[in-house]
């Protein structure tokens, strides 16, 4: 198992390398650089050249790339060219935890609502409970963040005035480097963004749980269990639930990775200082180092997420073994 994990991690290094190379090449190919504009004005030519030279942007791309790799190797994600008192490491420290907090809360919410709803719907199959749950779930999957976010702000923030509509209730310094201080302030601020992000997820988890449980209930070993004379309750709890949750549990990995990139809209609408917002900003501002580094971080998260799925799948399902 350990060997398998190590092998997977080693294999993913060229993938990450290629992603960084790709991003690096594409963003440098975009017209305009970090120093070509000043607010709504153009930067004078010679000053632009001086600043570009300071950050090595005048050198051939492969040298810039090599320098960037050397920087990465020493744990330095690069400078912020237009915000010299900060570094990319600072920005990541400030914003990554916000995205992680938002994302994990949304995932927790999704599981907390999705699994019970899915189980309930499956057990009460073809009753009004099932139909309501299923319909709500499909509706939840269908409503886009860009519709749900503004709608929630309108209802709870503007009309009812019961929940704050902007900001994240926590900020650096973080506990253990990524956890918020869980004050009342934090929880109230978290409600709307987390619900916006978590709705679609909980809906798809509910659908998945329902389908999976129904499938398991029809399998032969459940029939055997029933035939043995076990009570229905015992059949469900001891046999059906466990197996039906295997596919559900294994989507945790891609779910986390997906959610972390899915925070773009939520961060923008709710004025959260998260990584997605920095990513969009870095494209606009041509903060090459920030953009490349954020892409790298997203890729690493995805690689780890995928790895987590495989490991968890093997762990839950003894039939699978890695060599």
């Amino acid at each position: 198992m350990t060997r398998y994990i190590i092998r997977r991690l080693i294999v993913s290094i060229p993938v990450l390398f290629a992603i960084v190379l790709f991003t690096f090449a594409v963003v440098h190919a975009l017209p305009g650089g970090p120093f070509s504009t000043v607010g709504e004005k153009a930067m004078p030519e010679h000053i632009r050249l001086i600043m570009e030279r300071r950050y090595g942007l005048d050198q051939p791309l492969y040298i810039q790339f090599w320098n960037y790799l050397k920087m990465l190797a020493s744990g330095d994600l690069g400078p912020m060219m237009r915000m010299p008192s900060q570094t990319v490491n600072d920005i990541v420290y400030q914003t990554w935890p916000v995205s992680i907090q938002l994302g994990s809360l949304a995932v927790i919410l999704a599981f907390a609502i999705g699994i019970p709803a899915g189980i309930l719907a499956a057990l009460k199959r073809n009753t009004w409970i099932d139909y309501t749950a299923t319909f709500t779930a499909v509706l939840g999957v269908s409503i886009n963040n860009i519709v749900l976010g503004p709608l929630l702000i309108l209802i709870f923030g503007v009309w009812l005035k019961v929940l704050p509509i902007a900001f994240w209730g926590a900020e650096p310094p973080w506990i253990l480097g990524f956890l918020p201080k869980p004050t009342w302030n934090f929880w109230t601020h978290a409600v709307l963004p987390v619900v916006t992000l978590g709705t679609a997820m909980s809906a798809s988890i509910a659908r998945l749980t329902r389908a999976s449980l129904l499938e398991v209930m029809m399998s032969d070993y459940i029939r055997t269990a029933r035939a043995k004379g076990l009570k229905e309750r015992a059949v469900i709890i001891r046999h059906a639930l466990k197996n039906s949750l295997i596919p559900v549990a294994t989507i945790l990995g891609p779910l986390l990775a997906g959610v972390l990139t899915g925070t773009f809209v939520v961060e923008q609408i709710f004025a959260l200082n998260g990584m997605g917002r920095q990513f969009l900003m870095s494209i606009e501002q041509r903060e090459y180092f920030l953009l490349s580094s954020l892409t790298l971080i997203y890729s690493i998260m995805l690689v780890l997420g995928n790895l987590m799925v495989d490991i968890m799948y093997a762990w839950l399902d003894p039939r699978i073994r890695f060599d």
């Binding site: 709504e40 927790i108 920095q278 494209i283 041509r286």
Partner: protein, 618 residues
Amino acid sequence: MSRNKWIILILVLVLGVVVLSACSQSTPEVVEKVVEKTVVVTQVVEKEVEKTVVVTEVVEKEVVVTPTPQPEPVTLRFYSTTDIPTLDPQIAEDVVSINMIENLFVHLTNYDLETAEIIPETATSWDISDDGLTYTFHLRTDIPWVKHNPVTGETVQEVDADGNPRFVTANDFVYGIKRACDPNLGSYYSSIIAPLIVGCEDVLNAEDPENIPQELIDAIGVEAPDDATLVIKLNFPASYFLSMTPMWTMAAVPEWAIDEYGDKWIEAGNIVTNGRFVLNEWVHGVRRTLLRNPLMPEDMYGTGNVEKIVVSVVPDVSTGYALWLNNEVETSGIPDAELQAHLEKYPDETVQVPDLAVFYFGFRETKPPFDDPRVRRAFSAAFDREKFVTEVRQGQGLPMKHFAPPGIFGAPPIDEVGVGFDPEFAKQQLAEAGYPNCEGFPTVTLLGYSGQATLNWIEFAQQQWQEHLGCSPDVIQIEQQSFKELLAATSAKTPDEEAPHMWTLGWGPDYPDENNWVGDVLWCENPGNRMKRECTEADDLIVQAREETDPAKRVEMYRQIEELFFGPEGEMPMAPLYLRIAYVAQHSWLTAPRALFGGEQFYNWSIDQAAQMAAMGK
């Protein structure tokens, strides 16, 4: 057994929740700390000198104070759509940073909020030599350099190596201005002041920016004969120089702090300031908090009563406006789409704020068919500015027929120079150019930048040209790019094939003089020159006008220049559209005289705290 695995899995999930919520025990501590902070501040406000004593007192008092709440400082809350890139006066180039810098640092002179005249700030008076080449400023020397400690909440005056308290002197200004000439700072505004000050341009354009010879730096025409006198020498008698002296670029900065901390000198805890406020907190991307500087000389306090400023970062105006509706900020921009409803509901909580930015369509003069001035005139005259301002901008602006808006020295009255909207003239010009009723007109591109505001104009323009020129919308390809891409695409260096025919941009003033408009945007030798203009008679006049010392003559020359550009026979390198005037939502308890130039002077803003608290439900 796989059941155990399940239990472990659930445990992991639960643990995640627990970890998130378990730390809540630490909250009381935080609350206490906050209380402690405010205590220190009030203490320091009362006493100016013995700061070290204050600290020891506070530590003992802490426990006693907790039950009785301190009066809240008068707090001004608003937001900006971006974080500030810098607080360094010489580097700052965006409005948001400049707003902060205006309140953290004193400047050489100040703008009067009502008359827009130059009034004393650090300089109490000044003399201009008869040839207009030497400016001598007489400075006050009682403004202390202070450092604020965000942890203890103390504000302490800086001391030099010998232990003497530091006050702002002419040498600090000399250092600041020479620093502004340094090309390695990468400051946009360097190139605005460099052409004026003797020797500054030589340094800015030095061949090897990494090894600038000391002689060049010494030769910059800024001197401090004594602590209270600053002498600035100019290259030519630029009559608009005085109007530039309130600029942040020429502010005094603390050399010793910059040497000590490098790029990080502007961070909270490091920064040394001399203004009416101190930086208490800068949570990047989230918020910055300013507190009154208790050590400021009393006569510089300003007319306002604001003691604390909290500026949050809210990327979206729509969200910001919702915050305003909830009384969570004092003032906010109003999204266009909310304006009508806002004006009906809150007529008394609306103010009009002009920012002197003029928006225009630029024409590539070298790219056919816009190489023909008649085509440019036609496209400019076929845009109904009045209708645009009233219907699309909902009254937030004034139609412009020429470039420089009123309030700028040398700008002609708003309705006297220029053709403006004239559909008959437009049709006739287009016909003369060989495209009657737009027949045979080639496909042209109009480039706007991302954001709904410009999208509205370019779509409106498309419609206007169809209506008044007969040009089908298919002929005018409209596109949106990010702002950077637009500037790159329209740069004079971009070959004509890759440049758009037309684009939309705005110009906001750096200093209140016509030279900053026709001279810095349209002048043919200006390195920008997006229109790729050839030099003409107008350009000779631009050069003459900036050296002319007689104000009346200058006004007359600028009128001629505007006529040469935008009159019926004009070259029409751009189609000026409108002057932006924004409606701003502002709660009735805030009195906020707005600044036309430079940063907002928050020290002159006042808040009726009782009304504010009542609205917040406290």
